[in-house]
Symmetry: C2
Subunit: 448 residues, 2 copies
């Protein structure tokens, strides 16, 4: 196929698309790599600009990552927090959505290279490909301790957690049963705190009376953090508060705990062994390998070092945003890899491209810090909103409102709200399904 596909996307008259006017063919081409917060909001902000936008993602859906742990903990269904990118951008006439994997950016040729070898030429490219899990040089830990980045990850974690209780119910050996009922979460950032809190809740409330031969409320949930406190990106007071809430839920919080090994029997902390059949990874991320194909400066985590206007120094046509970018705020502080940063950068990069198209100079990004939140349990959270530190139920309400409000689509907002109310009242979780892979593991019958 080679370049045929890319040309058909751009030009080929054999494809039954609406005929492009000559005018639109002269407009600059913006290719966006990634349909997460950064990429999606950049595409939306380019809606009325005189550019032709192509958004490429290897998945067909935008994922509301901040609620992904709720899919992993069986509170929500995948579709509640994910929306098809095509549907979101349907009414945007200057934008094309492509389901494809990007394998490289060909900087000299100004082309994005796709998995089938075809290429998308660009005048501007926005790289928003995000991160994946990093195992600190121990990639062999990955199958033993899955991380939480995609819907597939969330379903895998849900499957492992629920299955551990089922296997414990059938296990006659007490030591093995205890290992099955021990859940270790590695990493005490927001994801780790939320995961540990939800697993504790599942065992203390949801499953409490469901089994005959085990007592799920006796399950051990252990949260391991290498630093000396939880939630390093939050004020210290809130990290302590979160640890207190977790302990009240029955989570064993261990700070200063450096994981030195993970094997099918459990976790090693130096000489100490924690026997556990379920280990979850929330300890680190690694930039998308796409960053390397740019051939520019990367930071230690593999992220692209960007200039103040979000472009790559010396490459004004290449912008990098979201978790993949090592950007700084106007005071020189490194920006965290959060949804608000990515969303704001998405808006900003769109207006900088609009400026560049008009021949105007680009403008340095200014981050508006609206706060930072993490939930711990069914009605407690910690929030740091412009210095105002909220804890407990008030923080949880603020957290719930902010998250529902930012979900994409009215339907998802209504469904998530209803399920939260239902879960709150009944202590149940609506998506307690153990689903396996399809029995027939073959590629779909297509020739491409």
């Amino acid at each position: 196929m080679g370049r045929v596909v890319a040309e058909s996307v751009e030009l080929s008259p054999s494809v039954p698309a609406e005929p492009a006017s000559d005018d639109s063919l002269l407009k600059p081409r913006v290719v966006i790599v990634g349909g997460g917060f950064g990429g999606l909001y950049a595409a939306k902000a380019l809606k009325d600009q005189p550019v032709r936008v192509t958004l490429v993602d290897r998945r067909n859906h935008h994922l509301f990552q901040p609620l992904l742990y709720q899919v992993a903990s069986a509170a929500l269904s995948p579709a509640d927090i994910a929306s098809p990118i095509r549907a979101i951008l349907r009414k945007q006439v200057n934008t094309t959505v492509l389901l494809a994997e990007v394998t490289a950016i060909d900087v000299p040729a100004r082309e994005v290279v796709l998995d089938d070898g075809s290429r998308l030429p660009y005048d501007y490219v926005i790289l928003a490909a995000g991160t994946s899990h990093a195992y600190f040089g121990h990639d062999e830990w990955e199958p033993l301790a899955p991380g939480l980045k995609s819907l597939e990850d969330a379903l895998e974690i849900r499957r492992r957690v629920l299955r551990a209780f089922e296997e414990a119910e059938r296990e006659p050996d007490p030591a093995e049963r205890e290992a099955l009922l021990t859940f270790v979460v590695v990493g005490g950032g927001p994801t780790g705190v939320e995961l540990a809190g939800s697993i504790a809740e599942i065992s203390r409330f949801t499953l409490a009376r469901d089994f005959d031969h085990i007592d799920p409320t006796k399950a051990q949930v252990i949260l391991l953090e290498g630093a000396d406190r939880l939630l390093l990106t939050f004020p210290e007071k809130l990290g302590k508060k979160a640890a207190g809430y977790l302990k009240r839920l029955g989570v064993r919080v261990r700070t200063g705990a450096m994981v030195t090994g993970i094997d099918p029997q459990g976790v090693l902390l130096g000489e100490e062994r924690i026997p556990a059949r379920t280990v979850l990874w929330a300890a680190g991320v690694r930039a998308s390998p796409l960053a390397r194909t740019l051939g520019v400066d990367l930071d230690r985590a593999g992220r692209v070092v960007i200039g103040p206007d979000l472009s790559v120094p010396g490459r004004p046509e290449i912008f990098v945003i979201g978790d993949l970018a090592a950007g700084k705020d106007h005071r020189g502080k490194l920006l965290p890899g959060t949804a608000p940063v990515a969303i704001q950068q998405g808006h900003w990069v769109a207006s900088n491209i609009a400026r560049a198209v008009k021949g105007e100079p680009t403008v340095p990004f200014r981050y508006k810090d609206r706060g930072n939140m993490a939930t711990v349990g069914r009605n407690v959270a910690v929030a740091d909103i412009k210095g105002l530190k909220l804890t407990g139920f008030v923080a949880w309400l603020a957290w719930a409102v902010v998250h529902v409000f930012n979900l994409i689509g009215y339907k998802n907002r209504v469904l998530v709200t209803l399920q939260w109310i239902w879960a709150y009242v009944t202590f149940q979780r609506g998506a307690r399904l153990i689903t396996e892979e399809p029995d027939t593991r073959v590629a779909p019958p297509t020739s491409s």
Copy 2:
């Protein structure tokens, strides 16, 4: 492990269960194989009987099969139509739920054999293991044309259908593009009719304006049926009506069409070839292989020939219900493999076991035929309710009410109703996700 597990389930004091009173250990043991409609309703009906019930299923959830095609067609999420069996039976003190695969019934020993070799002794066994797809001796068709029995099947079909449109969008070759946009459903029973209708709706409404290079409304949906009309189990008038509705949706209905081959390029009908990249199977079912381990009479489809009281002739302690049973109504007519039959048999078998325990004679099953329904599109259906033949919108309303009402759990009823209203108003489908298998395809880190 061997028998250890089974004994621990029954007797072992090392397992931290509530200590059984001596009295309860004398109660007869009823093992139910399968948590579908038959098995689940049998378990529920045994609630207050003086028996110890163990329900074994290889999945942790009861599935509301009549709405499974709505998961396959992206209208509902898996969790909306599935409920954890443990949660459903939580309050039932005489019942244990076991997540395990049953490999055989050891009739002489009166034991159910599990996949790990352990055994569950029984005084009565209720076999309700259902059916899987049958490819009429062409098992090689299975990976090419998935059927619709489990949530995994539904997600696989959803993935293939949505992915076909995505691949067509990128495909420059017109013939290949047409094959990608051709969907063949084999089998004109209720499942085939519902699947064909939903795929037509997806292409005509949901995706209509989502692509740039293809026109989804031009997708071909072809429904193949070997007999001379659709919906053979319905009155002829309703089968014709359904065919008319499907045609109006743009489905090509071909009766008298015998599939002679399926390959990655499409479907063969004798000399004729239909190029299609997506083929779905709704043409036949085969009884669970468990039936064979009974060593009793099976019918041509592998189902167990049962007596009037639902037990196996000569084996009063073995009952077979639901799709796995070849049972007759009181007029000698073979009962169809539907949810109402399974539910009524579940209730009936429970009362027959209660009688047997008391030393009373069992009673022949009497089926109350309350009707038969199938939907065709977003607001038309056909229904045959005690001779009253409904069609169109009225039938669809009846269908919707009956199905929502029979869903398990208030939450699911509310969520399904809301999503139907939303879909009805917006023409959208809430679960348009293409999810892949997890990247790390390893067994969970357990030793069992």
